[in-house]
Symmetry: C2
DNA sequence: TATTGTTATACTCTATAACTATA
DNA sequence: TATAGTTATAGAGTATAACAATA
C-alpha cells in the first residue's frame, strides 16, 4: 500500500505545523492580566452556557479543589455569578457576567486580527486551500 | 472589498480549529513521566544543537534560575551532558544524551501515530485538502 | 451511603534578589 | 565592572486527603 508512508509524513508535518501555529496564536493573547486557567474557564462557560463547578472542572481537566480556587478568583474579579440550584442544594450554577463577556469578545478580536492580517497577505489560492482544509481540521480537532 | 468579511471569518475559524487540534495533540503525549518544561528544553536542544544554559532559557522564555532547575532535573535523569566552554570558564554547553534522543524519537512516534490513525479514516479528498493547506499553515506558523 | 463542593496542606514550576566565579 | 550561572526564597497553580452539607 503506497499511501501509508505519505499518510504518516502528512501526520508528522501537520502535527508540527499545528503546534507551531498554536504557539504563535497563544503568544498573541491580549494582556488583560487574567491568568490562562481563568480565561479558559470563562471561555468554557461562554461555549457551553452556565455550568456547575464540577462540570467545569471536568471540562477543563483539573480537579474540583483547583476549580474552587479559579472560581474564587473569577468571582473576586467580578467575572462570574453563582446561583444555587433550586432542585439540588449541593450544586451551583456558574455563569458569565457582562464584564466577562466583554473581555472575551476583546480577547478574540485581538487574536483574530493578528491572524487575519497574515491571511490578507496570502494569495487567493492559499486562502482557498486553507478554507478547503478547515472543515477537515475541525473534524480532527473534535475526534 | 467583499472578501474582507470572509477573511476575518476564516481567521476566526482557523484559529479555533488550530487551538483545539493542538490541545488534542498535546494530550496525546507519551507518558514518559517527563514534565513538559523538561521535554521542551530537550526538543530545543534537538532542534538547535548544543546550547548554553542562558541561550536555552532565552529560547524557552524562562529565566536563567528556572532553567538551572530544569537542567538539574535533566542531568539527574541522564538526559543531558554539560561540558565547560574552553574559551570562557563562565559558560557551559548543554547537549543531549543518547537516552534523550531515544525518548524524543519515541515521543514523536506516539503522537504521529495518533494523528495518522485519524488521517487514514479520512477520504482521499480530505487528505488532499490537508496536504494542500499544509505549506500555507507552515508559512503562517513561521510568520 | 453517595455526591457536590470547600478547606487544609503539599508539590511543581516559575519568578526576583543575592551570591560566586570568570572576563 | 560586567557577565554566566547558581543558590535562596517566594508566588502561582495544581494535586490529594479530609471535611461539611445535601440527596
Amino acid at each position: 500500500m503506497p499511501g501509508s508512508a505519505v499518510t504518516s509524513d502528512l501526520a508528522h508535518d501537520l502535527r508540527l505545523a499545528t503546534m507551531r501555529l498554536a504557539r504563535r496564536l497563544r503568544s498573541q493573547r491580549a494582556d488583560h492580566g487574567l491568568p490562562l486557567g481563568q480565561l479558559s474557564a470563562l471561555a468554557a462557560l461562554d461555549r457551553h452556557g452556565p455550568l456547575t463547578p464540577g462540570a467545569l472542572a471536568q471540562h477543563e481537566q483539573i480537579r474540583p479543589p483547583s476549580m474552587t480556587k479559579v472560581l474564587a478568583a473569577l468571582a473576586e474579579g467580578g467575572y462570574i455569578d453563582r446561583v444555587p440550584d433550586p432542585h439540588d442544594g449541593r450544586q451551583q450554577l456558574v455563569s458569565l457576567t457582562d464584564k466577562a463577556r466583554r473581555l472575551l469578545r476583546e480577547d478574540r478580536r485581538r487574536r483574530d486580527e493578528w491572524l487575519a492580517s497574515l491571511l490578507v497577505g496570502l494569495s487567493d489560492d492559499d486562502r482557498a486551500a486553507l478554507a478547503a482544509a478547515l472543515p477537515v481540521l475541525e473534524v480532527l480537532a473534535d475526534s
